[in-house]
């Protein structure tokens, strides 16, 4: 995923037990393992009731870098935590997170 600094993006998880809204939470971890966005249940919704598929909209960090969104079902263990795709936060992303031309647009910004 690609997103501008401070922009919002949506992360999803599937295959979790259903009915976990209020328990299932998501965090954003930087490439060095530090916490970029603390784990939270706020704004998490189950896409379709009973599906076990959840989504949350998170505000990206202000600093460019590589991050990973991690979901857990209320506790942290190898069987309760799942990582979404790597998130790249870059000022070279488009407003909706679309790829742009880095070599040229970065010079002309």
């Amino acid at each position: 995923m690609l997103v501008q600094p401070s922009a919002t993006f949506t992360t999803t998880v599937s295959g979790a037990p259903s009915g976990l809204v209020g328990t299932i939470r998501v965090r954003l971890t930087a490439a060095d393992g530090s916490v970029a966005v603390a784990a939270s249940t706020a704004g998490v919704r189950e896409l379709v009731a009973g599906s076990g598929c959840y989504e949350a909209t998170i505000t990206a960090p202000t600093t460019p870098g590589r991050f990973v969104a991690q979901w857990d079902t209320g506790s942290v263990s190898p069987t309760t935590l799942v990582a979404d795709d790597v998130l790249i936060v870059s000022s070279l992303a488009g407003p909706a997170g679309e790829p742009t031309d880095v070599p040229v647009s970065s010079r002309a910004a």
Partner: protein, 236 residues
């Protein structure tokens, strides 16, 4: 099929292992390497720099250095031995010079490049994105209206600047070709530079896609890259 991880040659990238036992960093047993999927391991197995985050999660993060050669690779994790339960592959890794510094995809949104300040094509050989396409053996002379011309309102005052066009096969590779250019509009709202190429110069280039860099050396030996991107040489 997963989307590949993108990285520039020799740049770092983020790879993630999840669902592994926790505590493997302290044990020194979790490692990651990058294979070329042909039996080679251009990035040997390493255990340094791996973090488990959050603690106890069995989720490990590493930022290895990508191979220096363009190509498709595979980040491979193991937990100290190689077996079906201890060996994991991440998404494929695509190494290309046409990627942003953090691994951003590029060359998709032309509209972005057409924003205020972006490069505007005023030559048939230079397209609206700033990229170049020439035919090997052709002349690109200003007198014929075919010179390579770039312009932008975002460049600094180019009065007194020397202009150089450089081509490389890849970002981390040596310069294959250079040509001097000229500042044609140094200080108006939209600055402009041009490069003329002779048929001997374009004929010396093997057809293919190169990376180009258009560099201005300003007074005081201040060097600034004005544009970079693709330089395509088509066969005559």
């Amino acid at each position: 099929m997963s989307l590949p991880i993108l990285a520039r040659p020799g740049a770092t990238f983020l790879t993630v292992l999840q669902g592994a036992p926790s505590g493997l960093v302290a044990a020194g047993s979790v490692g990651v390497r990058v294979s070329d999927m042909a039996g080679g391991t251009p990035v040997p197995r390493q255990t340094a720099g791996i973090v488990e985050a959050p603690a106890g999660s069995g989720c490990y993060l590493a930022s290895p250095t990508a191979p220096s050669t363009t190509g498709l690779y595979l980040p491979e994790w193991d937990t100290g031995s190689v077996s079906p339960g201890s060996f994991f592959a991440d998404d494929p890794l695509l190494v290309s010079p046409f990627v942003g510094p953090l691994g951003e995809p590029t060359d998709v949104a032309v509209s972005t490049r057409a924003a205020a300040g972006a490069i505007v094509a005023v030559s048939g050989a230079v397209d609206v994105t700033g990229d170049v396409t020439v035919v090997a053996g052709d002349d690109y002379a200003a007198a014929a209206g075919r010179a390579l011309v770039w312009s932008s309102s975002a460049w600094p005052d180019l009065t007194g600047a020397a202009i150089l066009l450089a081509l490389r096969a890849g970002e981390a590779t040596a310069v294959l070709f250079t040509a001097s250019g000229l500042v044609t509009v140094p200080s108006a709202t939209v600055r402009q530079v041009r490069v003329e190429l002779t048929h001997a110069q374009t004929g010396s280039l093997r057809p293919g896609v190169y990376g180009f860099q258009l560099v201005a050396t300003l007074p005081g030996q201040v060097v600034e890259t004005l544009a970079d991107g693709r330089f395509t040489v088509e066969a005559a």
